[in-house]
Amino acid sequence: MNELGNYALILAMALAAFAALTAVIGVRQKRGDLILVAQRSVYAVFAMVVVASGCLIYLLVTSDMSLEYVASYTNVDLPVFYKVTAFWAGQSGSLLLWSLVLAIYSFAVTFRYRHQHGELMPYVIATTMVTQIFFLALNLFSSNPFDELHSVHADGTSHVFMPADGRGLNPLLQHPAMIIHPPTLYMGYVGFVIPFAFAIGALLSGKLDDHWIKISRRWTLVAWLFQSAGIMLGGWWAYVELGWGGYWAWDPVENASLMPWLTGTAFLHSVMIQEKRNMFKVWNVTLIVATYLLCIFGTFLTRSGVVSSVHSFAQGSIGKFFMTYIVIALCASVYLVIHRWPMLKNENRLDSAISRESSFLFNNLVLLISCFAVLWGTIFPVLSEAFTGEKIVIGAPFFNKVNVPIGLFLLFLTGAGPLFAWRKTSLASLKKAFLYPTIVALAGGVLIFFFVTQHFYGLVSFILTIFVGTVIVIEFIKGAQARVKANAENFMTALKNLTLKNKRRYGGYIVHFAMVIIFIGITGTIFNYETKFEIAQGQTTQVKDYTIVCEKIGFDDNANYQSQYAVLNVSKSGRFLASMKPEFRMYKASEQPSTEVALQKGLQEDLYIVFTGLDKTQQRAVIQLYINPLVTWLWIGTIVLVAGTLICLLPNAQDERTEIKTVKKETIAEKQ
């Protein structure tokens, strides 16, 4: 079966090269038949990558230990569920997942536009297929999941070697979040290839009109949705699995996922200016190229082992491949932008410095500054080692110091942006628009100052969340009231129609509201509390409002791991809350320890208990306890973010066109 998988990968790579070549020849010679052949080659690449992925899953599930990958990341007694997720546990499997996700995207895009954009699509196919070739080549020539284990005999001959059992899956990866977190994040990373391919297609074909930008915006939104969800799912996995009480540690790989998200977010805003005003063309191409390169760079960081990270489960020599590819892609993109420079000139000017356009430009700059700060902090250890020979690691304090004020400023722009009108906003209307949200925010701020916290950033963050929240609520109310007046609808119907008939605007506002909720969750960090104590069976201890009774300290043993655990009955302010069971496990195959956190979630705060082991007497459980306020709001915010983005992605309803008709009538009158 591994031979079949390998063979499918070779076929996929040959077909991808053929697709890229025929697409370019087809468009140069204006041959429709060759373009059809290129499209079919893309479909065939998809089929081959699916076959290869199917082979790997089969080999993992059937525990074929003759394969290095299977033996390295699974063991016979590993539950089937985790055998499947081991697909992306190691380097070569992750790279195959990259190829699979890209093949899915390429298939979808090629099929969706098979009858459209005749001069643009062949170049899009060529660009996606070149990226596909790169990742398939990595699998075939550098990190192949179908490689067999070999033992070398004394006479110099080598034979396939099959160990009795594998080394097992890293315990940290044995968590339900691992089914969904990596594929979701990869859907984000790889999804950004599509808008990049359209940008390169537009540059190569010279078709730099509205088409590529409209299509790119939608696909960027899809990638952004997955990237956002993937990042948050990663945070959730870290929170419930790693056992250190937090969800974000400015780990290089976390940073790697955040950087394309920041540039992608900038692109989603600035692309609107190009759509509406034909401005910022070079800027938009630059942003999407940067996003693509950061995605490749992110994969490189994760898989090369160049920086030490909790995610660098495997290290390898693929770094030079990645760096070469990144440099080539960067040079080619820069050349194309310079080559098409005359076609990328702005067709309009900003009507006013006080407008939605200028606020977007401002938000773009701040997002890029944030991205640069994260990039600098992430690669600084590598640069310092290269130039001084000493690896200087930059920790969370640097990232927090730089990014907390930037993040708060971005939060402010999240609320201020919607208050500006497109093209021109008068100072008088701006003052009016700022008045109520500012009053509400300051009033809230005074209450928070006296009753909740005097922590500077905490206070600023809460004031800004109130400000932005109020802005968005007022925007919805004003819009709905306008509809009530114009269409005689009741308020709730008006609110619904308002959102559904202006999906981009109000879907976007919902996403902004989600950011408010997420910021509430992040701000909760300032109230975090942690303590460590030892407790014997039958003993009681008090931590803040919580009374903890240790009902039992127990041991368990199964095929996969041995564990020690404590059963803790927790009451809050005298009322029984839950029976919690934190665990300390030792996995047999991998011989690695892991903690299973006991978590009691709440809107106000989470109670987070870690069993770190037994004390010297083996009678008392050593417990690390965290009280993490407001964390649940992060996950609620993520759900709202996904909902808002989905609203933005809904296709335009027919009824939007009927509204345009009324404008049409006036135009006809003007013309006459």
Binding site: Y7, A47, K276, T425, S426, S429, V663, E670, K671
Partner: protein, 160 residues
């Protein structure tokens, strides 16, 4: 067995990919001529300005924009859209195209049928370009359904 599967896989892929070349069927590179593309671009531009006007109306309606700014920007948009519509009209002078900008076989057949009818009856014939608008066969101008005469050239409009 495995070798057979591999060969079959490769053969299936090759047949699937090369079928269009083996069949020697003519596949047009692009279904749209330059004129249609130019027209499409103009229609897109027109719709973009309509959307701008819609946004201006909305933002003025919820009090985000001063009245004088609103009036001047809206006026600019209306002027711009009128220019675009004149270009569309100039381009449509002669052979009208379908409302969505796509020339389909059915549309061409419909056009021929109407041309024939026109030659026989000598009347100006309207060509349905989409559900709401009717194109005049004399000048190609789009008129509202229900109009009896073309608002551009005055030719009589007759429904099919």
């Amino acid at each position: 067995m495995l070798t057979a599967i591999m060969i079959m896989l490769a053969l299936a892929a090759l047949i699937f990919v090369f079928k269009p070349l083996l069949d020697k069927t003519f596949v047009p590179f692009d279904l749209k001529d330059d004129r249609t593309k130019k027209l499409e671009a103009l229609i897109n531009h027109k719709n973009k300005i309509y959307a701008d006007i819609k946004d201006l109306d909305f933002e003025f309606g919820i009090g985000k924009m001063a009245e004088n700014d609103y009036r001047s920007l809206r006026g600019e948009c209306l002027k711009e859209v009128s220019n675009v519509m004149k270009q569309i009209d100039a381009l449509q002078d002669g052979v009208p195209v379908a409302g969505n900008g796509k020339i389909t076989d059915a549309y061409i057949e419909d056009l021929i049928r109407q041309k024939r009818h026109h030659a026989v009856s000598g009347e100006a014939v309207i060509i349905t370009s989409n559900d709401e608008m009717l194109a005049c066969s004399s000048c190609g101008h789009e008129n509202h359904v229900g109009a009896k005469f073309c608002s551009e050239c005055g030719a009589k409009l007759v429904k099919n």
